[in-house]
Symmetry: C2
Subunit: 449 residues, 2 copies
């Protein structure tokens, strides 16, 4: 049952180890520290690991086991899975590599694995995967040490990756940027559970507001199209497809054996189904974040607020480039902003330049006006956080605007450590932030689709 992967009451870590270099050590530690259910350690060669009694086999555990995480060498892994099937384990995350991806004997091993679970109720994610990082149930099979691979905070984005390596790198990056995830799923060789199963599950997941999928080739294009059609009724789906070019596709075939046919056909089908396609990793999360945390644009008219004229111009250029328009401010907006500006400031225009000595209060007045202005469909706020008049209280002003607006708001600021700390604070509290006007605009533009 798929819910056993994400909301198990009991979990067995098979291959639990006292050796900190072994995957089974890190994974057991994750579960002991964070998992909300009950954890069992399994390893026939150990009596106790991390102060936990060690079972010789999953079959020795008296209680039912919802989830088994298998991190044993490939020469044992199928036997272990067979025991899980006998034990009626609902979900197996099979970390072990050495299956189809190595060719030769690995191909036979994967066929045997499929036969083992055929007709049973046991489902498998993997083999050759990183597995699951779920910020709600705290199922966490990530086995790399945290100093190399940080863990992102809880949030509303689900990220599914056919590539474990790429998934882990992106997870690590997301953690540093304080981008909140509901779930990360690396499903490896997809001997059983595939992207279609995961979409069907995630579309009903209450913690997930947007879904990001990195894929090299779908197992079944038609089924994926249908799953996307079902999902986008309630949640947006962003897809990064590797192997767009002929050369890239050749590389994809050699990497995962994925055969996708022409990218144009894929792109056409996915777009028709309602997915948002992107070109690269930056876009993937830039889109996923804004889609998870902001409402859709009801029109294309954007209001820009800035304290640096140059940024306002670049942002304007980017709006036009990405199919958005500049709103004409209402009389009420002009009337409510003029009083907070210096005396020699005469014209309230869009982009609204609050000029270099802008304070957080001036931003508050501007944002409140644009939130009320019916001519404005969405707001892009830009700040030079380096100026002497703008203190960190700008974050409160932005979060306050974000919480009371029913229009989308995004924020961009370019800068060093101080700026980046403020950006992460905002990001963590649900305001999507970007390091440049260009990226903020591109993200805003997907809300118009």
């Amino acid at each position: 049952m798929l819910s056993d992967f994400f909301n198990p009451k009991t979990a067995a870590i098979i291959g639990a180890s006292s050796n900190p270099k072994k995957f089974g050590h890190t994974i057991l530690k994750n579960f002991i520290e964070d998992f909300k259910g009950e954890t069992f350690a399994v390893n026939p060669n150990e009596k106790e690991v991390l102060n936990k009694k060690c079972y010789a086999s999953v079959q020795d555990i008296k209680k039912g086991v919802d989830l088994a995480v298998v991190a044993v060498p490939p020469s044992f892994s199928n036997n272990v899975v067979a025991e899980c099937v006998k034990k009626k384990v609902g979900a197996v995350v099979l970390i072990t590599a050495g299956y189809r991806e190595i060719g030769g004997e690995g191909i036979g091993r994967e066929e045997e694995l499929k036969n083992l679970i055929a007709g049973t109720k046991t489902r498998i994610i993997g083999p050759n995967c990183l597995g699951i990082y779920d910020t709600s149930s705290c199922v966490n099979t990530m086995f790399l040490p945290e100093y190399k691979l940080q863990r992102p905070p809880a949030g509303k984005i689900a990220f599914i990756s056919q590539s474990g390596a790429l998934g882990s790198a992106v997870l690590d990056w997301a953690a540093t940027e304080h981008i909140g995830l509901s779930k990360f799923i690396s499903y490896g060789n997809r001997a059983d559970v595939d992207e279609v199963d995961l979409l069907e599950y995630l579309r009903k997941d209450r913690n997930t507001e947007s879904i990001i999928l990195y894929i090299e080739g779908p197992r079944d294009g038609r089924a994926l199209m249908q799953a996307i059609k079902n999902t986008v009724k309630t949640k947006p789906v962003v897809i990064l497809k590797a192997g767009r070019s002929d050369a890239g596709q050749k590389a994809a075939i050699s990497h995962t054996g994925s055969l996708a046919g022409s990218y144009d056909v894929f792109e056409g089908a996915m777009k028709q189904a309602g997915a948002i396609l992107c070109n690269n990793m930056e876009d993937m999360f830039d889109y996923g974040r804004v889609l998870a945390y902001q409402p859709r644009l009801k029109g294309k008219k954007i209001g820009i607020v800035t304290n640096g004229g140059g940024f306002g111009i670049l942002c304007t250029d980017a709006c036009i480039r990405h199919g958005l328009e500049l709103a004409e401010f209402s009389k009420e907006t002009v009337g409510s902003i003029l009083p907070v500006m210096p005396k020699n400031y005469s014209q309230i225009r869009n982009p609204l330049d609050l000029i270099g000595d802008a304070t957080a209060d001036r931003y508050a007045a501007a944002l409140n006006a644009l939130i009320k202005d019916r001519n404005v469909d969405g707001i892009i706020a830009l700040s030079l956080l380096q100026t002497s008049t703008l203190g960190p209280e700008i974050t409160d002003v932005l979060l306050d605007a974000n919480s009371k607006s029913n229009k989308p708001i995004v924020f961009a600021a370019t800068g060093g450590e101080y700026t980046q700390i403020l950006l992460r604070t905002l990001e963590k509290d649900g305001l999507p932030t970007y390091p440049s006007p260009e990226r903020a605009v591109k993200a805003m533009s997907v809300l118009a689709r």
Copy 2:
């Protein structure tokens, strides 16, 4: 004389102040701490500032003054400049705002300023500017506190910005990324020195290998075109022009009064002159860095090395998208890499997937082979630095390859803090690094022009 701005022997800080909130305080502190020449403090209301004797006027200084930095209120600033002219100061950085940019009385003030220096040998950068940050002579007029605006290390990129605000934000960002600059120049209202003067100076500057220009509108398009033609004979010039769209141009007119005419005309002229145009701030520095630190591509054939298949595919896609091609490796390359790969690894292809258990030694073998391979014009190295087999010694391998290669090399890795620390180390030592394959490829592609 323009060299008095960048290589003065003596400098007077006019408006030097004991009050840490005043610009004249921070600037004097910069000079006392770092400037390689002799510094004088000037302020009629102070006797001593930061343990330095304070002169009432620049005219009271007995020695000649090459550079004066003026940070006094606008009601005094022209008088102060007049004294500098009498003192035969070669270069004045006029930080003071309240000139043309405020309209009204400011316009008259700027006209008066121009008249003051007409026919004299005194040159002015500003008014309404941040001035100069020179990592060689340590002339540094940046007046924002360092916790808000960090200072980048010494390097080979010169960055000229018509917008001080944008310039400071980008400077701060560059510092955090450890991107090395030779000079940063914010020239404000360009009452005197403009982008053409600066290009003509920088093209002979021995510390500068590439020049980045952010501009809202050139003062004299034809003169700029000629200056670029002269400059690109020895150094590449990257231009980010704000106000590309009609809406953006309107905003530019209201911001700096810059009138550029159609962007298409501008773009055509600048490209014809040999400049590289870019769309946004990321590209501006992504291009500037690779141009400053890497040789040109002699052909379009790229070799890709990675330890993650997914990244290799994305990189391949990006190469095709940006007009590059994938090299076919020579027999010698294949022969020299096979022995360092695991036994069941059979095919050496491009992108070269060193697979997930790649060590730094495996990277060394691959990079050495590609450096020697005549079919390969440029190398894009990618790494998942999160894997357990790849330690920080990969940085030595990459820097070693970079130092011995006469082909361009760039590096990309996606990840969190650990990854970012390694990237900055590489960046500091002259290997351009990028947070994604896409950006590495885009940068590499400008070396083909």
